[in-house]
């Protein structure tokens, strides 16, 4: 889908992107990872052919510099924050982009409906919340049903719920066979969406790798060991199993597998049964033995 060869972009004496090369197959998804100023946004702009650069880039075999207009017809672009005339109403913005992307008004309405913005057509862009703006950007990106979606930190201005929605949508798109390129600051997004990660540092590709390799310790599930105030392990294990946790009794406390961001849940579950937890231990590098409760 994408072939990038030696993309180099300089702003005066500063080199923002330095001979970046990669290829991306149809249906694959690539995350761009790096600190602010590492060149993620610039690289995306180069790939889109929005700014001039040295090197070559093509989308679906179409050179973005020579035939950028036709190359971009294969791309839906979602910026960090939708920047469009604030005074424009949602319907007219949609109609404009539908015109540019040769989508019918019916398609535009379907796109809006798909991101849950039906009924907001009379609202002005400035009155939309951050999440709604990103959904509008998605709706616009998907107008002509392009095979490639390019996103530049699409969730960085959103709250947790908004992020969840966007990630959910992108996952659905990935499953539907779309190719994705996105820049992100959040490992969980990268882990849940990307097949590959380009790690950028000062414009250079430091590593071309996978999320699993990049975060070998980062597993979605962690094991914690609970030390109880009194010897009621059996009751506690029963209670936790009923609450849906995988439990392992190994004689030294109670080992529970929990989602990485839900480590306190077993404690509150036990508190409901008036079982007091004295201490907890997070067990890194401990693999949970396969036990059936």
């Amino acid at each position: 889908m994408i072939t990038a060869t030696n993309i180099t972009k300089k702003f005066g004496r500063i080199t923002a992107v330095s001979s970046v090369s990669f290829e991306l197959a149809d249906g694959a998804s690539l995350a761009l990872w790096g600190s602010n100023g590492a060149g993620k946004t610039t690289l995306i702009r180069c790939i889109l052919g929005v700014c001039r650069f040295q090197g070559r880039a093509s989308i679906g075999g179409i050179d973005v510099r020579r035939r950028g207009r036709h190359a971009r017809a294969l791309v839906g672009y979602v910026p960090q924050e939708l920047a469009f005339h604030d005074d424009a109403r949602l319907a007219s913005a949609m109609a404009f982009f539908a015109g540019l992307r040769r989508a019918t008004p019916a398609t535009a309405a379907r796109s809006l409906a798909a991101v849950g913005l039906t009924g907001h057509e009379r609202k002005r862009v400035r009155d939309l919340s951050g999440g709604m703006k990103q959904r509008l950007a998605l709706a616009i990106a998907l107008l002509s049903d392009p095979p490639l979606i390019v996103l530049d930190e699409p969730t960085s201005n959103l709250d947790a719920a908004g992020r969840g929605e966007v990630v959910h949508t992108l996952r659905a798109l990935k499953q539907a066979g779309k190719t994705l390129i996105f820049a992100s600051h959040r490992p969980d997004e990268v882990i849940s969406l990307a097949d590959r990660v380009l790690v950028l540092e000062r414009g250079r590709v430091e590593r071309d790798t996978t999320p699993a390799e990049l975060w070998p310790t980062e597993k979605p599930v962690q094991v914690i060991r609970l030390h109880l105030a009194m010897a009621r392990e059996e009751d506690a294990a029963e209670a936790l199993r009923r609450a849906g946790h995988a439990v392992h009794l190994n004689g030294d406390g109670l080992c529970v597998a929990v989602a990485r961001d839900r480590k306190a849940e077993p404690i509150s579950a036990l508190a409901l049964h008036r079982i007091e937890v004295r201490d907890i231990e997070v067990l890194d590098d401990v693999r949970f033995p396969e036990v059936q409760p």
Partner: protein, 293 residues
């Protein structure tokens, strides 16, 4: 959001719109934005009020005679047009690209399946239509006043005045767009536009007057230098259209009428048209070659 997964994904997206289709889409949006904007309203009201005022005043003070020459009205309108219309067009053009760049909306537009040439030509066409609309309202109302107050206006002469004014507006808009392309910020673009306005309206004429005295320029040299200024070309074109010769402009005008004869109005119109075409062409080239959005 779930509706997305139900959308059948096609392998190939809709191809980019035809070149002129894209230009038209941008033109339509720019026109809509323009007529909904404050500057359009302000300029239209200002121009209409001034044009009506000039028409009205030029018809009064005739006492009981009931006669007034359209020539007098035209002379008054000429002064007004040469002050106001370039100001309108230059500032409107100056905001075209620089404003979008400053608000960050330009990058989003460029990420769509459009070329930079389409963007700039579309914006020019939209603004030009809005400007011509604004002029038509002003001239229309003032023609109404002339119709009501007197009979001394011929539709052909008036139509030519409107046409030449529209051409002047297109020329100045073209210069404004060029300014907009090379300016990073919209305030800078407006500043340069005002400076150019001052230069074309006052400085160049005063400078040419001074040099014609100091360097004893010959009439052909004065004429050649004068028509470089689109404002002078416009003025001469209007006068030659109403008087069939430029004798009212003294020896230089008589020289021009004598040597160029019937070609004179065409040469003058071509000069103004060149001002409409060349800066826009240069703006298009510079915009396409710009390093960043």
């Amino acid at each position: 959001m779930t509706a997305l997964t139900a959308t059948p994904i096609t392998v190939h997206a809709a191809p980019a719109r035809s070149f002129f289709g894209g230009v038209a889409a941008f033109a339509r949006r720019e026109f809509r934005d323009a007529i909904a904007s404050r500057w359009f309203l302000l300029y239209t009201i200002a121009f209409t009020v001034l044009a009506v005022g000039v028409s009205f005043l030029s018809l009064s003070g005739v006492g009981s005679h009931g006669f007034a020459g359209f020539g007098r009205t035209a002379a008054g309108l000429l002064n007004l047009i040469m002050l106001v219309v370039p100001l309108m067009a230059l500032t409107a053009g100056a905001g075209a690209i620089a404003g979008e760049r400053e608000r960050g909306t330009l990058i989003y537009l460029l990420a769509q399946p459009v070329s930079r040439t389409q963007v700039i030509l579309g914006k020019y066409a939209g603004l030009a239509t809005a400007l011509v609309c604004s002029l038509c309202i002003g001239f229309g109302v003032s023609a109404g006043v002339l119709a009501w107050r007197t009979g001394g206006v011929g539709i052909a002469a008036y139509a030519m005045l409107v046409a030449f004014t529209a051409l002047l507006a297109l020329a100045m808009l073209s210069v404004g767009v060029l300014i907009s392309v090379v300016s990073r910020r919209s305030a800078v673009a407006t500043g340069i536009a005002l400076f150019v306005w001052l230069a074309l309206v006052f400085v160049s004429d005063l400078g040419l007057m001074a040099s014609s005295i100091l360097f004893r320029l010959r009439v052909q040299e004065i004429f050649g230098l004068a028509i470089l200024n689109p404002m002078q070309s416009f003025k001469m074109a209007v006068i030659v259209n109403m008087n069939a010769s430029l004798d009212v402009l003294g020896p230089v005008g008589a020289y021009a009428s004598f040597t160029l004869g019937r070609a004179l109005p065409w040469i003058l119109a071509a000069t103004v048209a060149a001002w409409a075409v060349l800066p826009l062409a240069l703006a298009t080239i510079l915009f396409a070659r710009r390093n960043s959005p």
